[in-house]
């Protein structure tokens, strides 16, 4: 998947979790948990959603790599 | 592992030799075990090595020599009685079922019967209807008996030792097609349990339960299924009575589908028993598909090679049945 596809996927998954969030204004290196007010349940649901769409099972130790859009893009590329 | 590669036959031979050398109470008796070296060549050379007190040829009378073995056990010895095949054990059924299995109970524990009875079982050598039975399931029906089915080199080597240590009657079923099986013996293993089943291959989509001569076919079926993206978990029962249902249930609770492979005919089979135990327990609620089994066709086992093979469980049938549960239609 390329960067645009991954970002679109994140938008789709977050749409079910934080529907009012506008990913367009989210910086690539911003911690989205703070920016979008995601708690640990929301974050876990996002990881599960990404797993269901991509088949990639993210170990807990890798969660910090997914705190930013840039991090997610790099992880799933 | 870096162990020696030997045949199943050689593993059993070593087990017999070691048992006799270790314990003066142990001896082997049966038809053609001494001068002939055993119908399946298991005891070849042992008469010369260990002497005729320890390797005893018997008359052609199963009821008599199995009875004698039971009597020897009651008198304090540890006999290994070799019945040539399970087919001939029918002539000693009364001894095994009415004496060996019941004497400890009927004597209120005054007599123990620490006899081990080894039998060849199964089909595949074109020995036709009267010589191709798989009746270990019948014996597994009888309280008072422990029933073993070694399917690997390791179990062939070490189950006998554990069986001899058991103070109660133990029957060991060696499938005729396994004697030429070759495998590596792990030098680190010096004993095995005779209580638990073993997961021989881990998987998550379907549980395949098998034992004895059908284990190899079941593992082959699992390889075929893997190519299809279906990961099968293969369980080797090892002990047919008492059944280790805990291992089977834990597996089925994860995979939610089960195929039981049993070379006996399905009617009143061990497969039926295992299926019922799954259905009558909490595993029932974990099932995502009906239980299934692959058994021999309900016919006397044919003589012609292609018909014999058609009557027996085969890897392709096992794989197709499993596939039918995971990806129906």
């Amino acid at each position: 998947m390329n960067e645009a596809e991954i970002k679109a996927l994140v938008a789709e998954v977050l749409g079910g979790i934080a529907p009012e969030a506008d990913l367009g204004t989210l910086g690539d290196d911003e911690d989205m948990r703070l920016a979008l007010d995601l708690d640990s349940m929301d974050f876990l649901n996002m990881v599960v959603g990404l797993h269901e769409r991509t088949g990639v099972d993210v170990p807990e130790a890798d969660y910090p790599k997914l705190f930013t859009l840039a991090g997610i893009v790099e992880y799933f590329q | 592992m870096s162990g020696e590669v030997i045949t199943y036959r050689e593993a059993v031979r070593r087990a017999i030799r070691e048992a006799i050398q270790r314990d003066p109470r142990v001896f082997l008796m049966g038809e053609d075990v001494g001068r002939y070296g055993g119908c399946y060549a298991v005891t070849k050379g042992l008469l010369e090595e260990l002497g005729e007190d320890r390797i005893r040829d018997t008359p052609l009378s199963e009821s008599a020599f199995v009875g004698a073995g039971i009597g020897a056990a009651m008198a304090g010895m540890r006999p290994i009685v070799e019945v040539m095949t399970v087919n001939f054990s029918l002539l000693a059924l009364d001894q095994i079922v009415n004496n060996a299995a019941t004497i400890p109970h009927m004597s209120g524990g005054q007599f123990a019967v620490p006899v081990v009875i080894r039998m060849a079982t199964g089909a595949g050598k074109q020995l036709a209807a009267q010589h191709s039975h798989s009746l270990e399931g019948w014996y597994a029906h009888v309280p008072g008996l422990r029933i073993l089915a070694p399917a690997t080199i390791e179990d062939a080597r070490h189950m006998l030792g554990a069986a001899l240590a058991d103070p109660n009657p133990v029957l060991i079923f060696e499938h005729v097609m396994l004697y030429n099986l070759e495998g590596e013996l792990d030098p680190a293993v010096s004993a095995v349990d005779i209580a638990r089943a073993r997961v021989r291959r881990a998987g998550r989509d379907v549980t395949l339960v098998s034992y004895g001569g059908s284990l190899g076919k079941t593992l082959a079926a699992a390889e075929t299924l893997a190519a299809d993206g279906i990961e099968a978990e293969v369980i080797d029962l090892r002990v047919l009575r008492p059944l280790d249902m805990a291992t089977v249930e834990a597996s089925v609770a994860r995979t939610r589908r089960c195929v039981i492979v049993d070379e006996g005919w399905r009617s009143g089979s061990l497969a039926a028993e295992i299926g019922m135990r799954l259905a009558e327990g909490p595993a029932f609620f974990e099932l995502d598909a009906p239980l299934a089994r692959v058994c021999s066709a309900e016919v006397p086992i044919p003589y012609a090679a292609h018909m014999e093979q058609a009557a027996l469980p085969q890897p392709a049938t096992i794989a197709a049945t499993a596939r039918g549960l995971v990806k129906p239609a």
Binding site: - | A310, A316, A320, G324
Partner: protein, 387 residues
């Protein structure tokens, strides 16, 4: 119209899910009402047949007002209109052409009743998720509904728009009313306890390493299970104060406080939290939070909490002094988890610490009881493997 909260007076019926003549089992959804706390699905409490839908959609009905007439049945009678059945699938295909024989062909037996054919696992999963088996296409053996079919239906469900979001102003009023009443009527006492979560979080990290992401546990699951088990030992704090006396709860149904995006708070019940495995509890928690946020909660989840637990989450204050939700008799709060110096065997070392607080009704219990509960919760959190 059931009472779905301490201060509820009325609600608007916004949707009927059934029609006259339909057969329902206990727990089936009969319709949806709109309250100050958003849209709630109403369940029936016994097996019955729908006789008459008394109220029209859009009507406001007071609590205890008649919504519909149902005729109780012991067992399900054949419905007047049979729901559509999934098409029966032919038996499994024959194996590849080879010497081995085909598997014994299985003729699909006719259905003896109007029951949907579903595997035991699928049936249980559908019930847990509140999905009706009717109308699901079965892709399993014999055309039965299997787990994959239920999962598909569940995945499709969130796509439906949440019916009736809540009105933040109305929800704020409802919360205000309930909390005011609580402060007026309930003499609260408070106890706090600092609990070291070093063992629990270390165990959790190890446990999660071997779990697929869909089964990972959050610390909240540990806090919930520990609280539930503690309540089983101190039942005096699990129940209601009604008509001047304490009535023990008939099970431990923990109301888990969920904050709603856009401002708002709701605390639906996690039923029998003490009996759930951690895996099951986590799955139910995720499902509950999801439905709380998208408007799919059920009446039993609003009516049944025997106690409320609120957890502040990560980036928040150290401790919370929560207010009891009447007619419950206690409320438990957990602050954020912070690294703090901790003394163990005479040495000081940093540990992740959470402050647990108990607010309780002094008409029903006193500090001794309350202290017992906090001590039990602490104890359970020091032995996470036994949760």
């Amino acid at each position: 119209m059931p009472s779905l909260g301490a201060d509820m007076e009325s609600a608007i019926l916004v949707e009927w899910s059934v029609k006259p003549g339909d057969t329902l089992r206990r727990g089936d959804i009969i319709g949806v009402v709109e309250t100050e706390k958003g849209a709630i699905e109403i369940e029936v409490f016994e097996d019955c047949v729908v006789e008459e839908l008394v109220v029209a959609v859009g009507t406001e009905v007071k609590v205890d007002g008649v919504l519909a007439r149902l005729r109780g049945t012991r067992e399900a009678a054949a419905p007047a209109t049979a729901p559509a059945r999934p098409a029966v699938v032919p038996p499994p295909a024959a194996p590849p052409a080879a010497a081995p024989r085909e598997p014994v062909p299985r003729a699909v037996p006719p259905l003896p009743s109007t029951r949907v054919r579903a595997s035991p696992a699928a049936r249980r999963e559908a019930k847990a998720r509140g999905i009706a088996l009717d109308g699901l296409t079965g892709s399993g053996v014999y055309g039965a509904v299997c787990l994959a079919d239920v999962a598909r239906a569940a995945a499709a469900a969130p796509a439906r728009k949440p019916r009736g979001g809540f009105d933040p102003a109305a929800m704020r009023r409802a919360i205000g009313n309930a909390m005011s009443r609580s402060k007026r009527e309930i003499p609260h006492y408070y106890l706090t306890q600092s609990i070291s979560l070093g063992a629990a979080l270390a165990w959790l990290a190890r446990e999660n390493e071997s779990r697929p992401v869909t089964e990972r546990l959050l610390p909240a699951a540990l806090l919930l299970k520990a609280t539930a088990l503690a309540l089983a030992r101190v039942p005096a704090l699990n129940g209601f104060f009604t008509d001047g006396e304490f009535v023990a709860g008939k099970g431990i149904h923990i109301g888990w406080a969920v904050s709603l995006r856009g401002g708002g708070l709701i605390a639906p019940a996690l039923h029998d939290a003490d009996r759930l495995s951690l895996t099951a509890l986590m799955a139910k928690l995720r499902d509950l939070v999801q439905r709380a946020r998208t408007g799919g909660l059920r009446s039993s989840e609003m009516m049944d909490p025997t106690i409320t637990v609120t957890s502040l989450g990560e980036r928040s204050a150290e401790a919370v002094l929560p207010i009891i939700y009447p007619p419950q008799v206690a409320v438990i709060g957990f602050g954020s988890v912070n690294e703090r110096p901790w003394v163990d065997a005479g040495r000081v070392a940093p540990q992740p610490v959470v402050v647990a607080t108990l607010g309780a009704d002094h008409r029903v219990s006193d500090g001794h009881r309350g202290g017992q509960l906090l001590a039990e919760i602490d104890h359970h959190l020091q032995h996470p493997e036994a949760l």
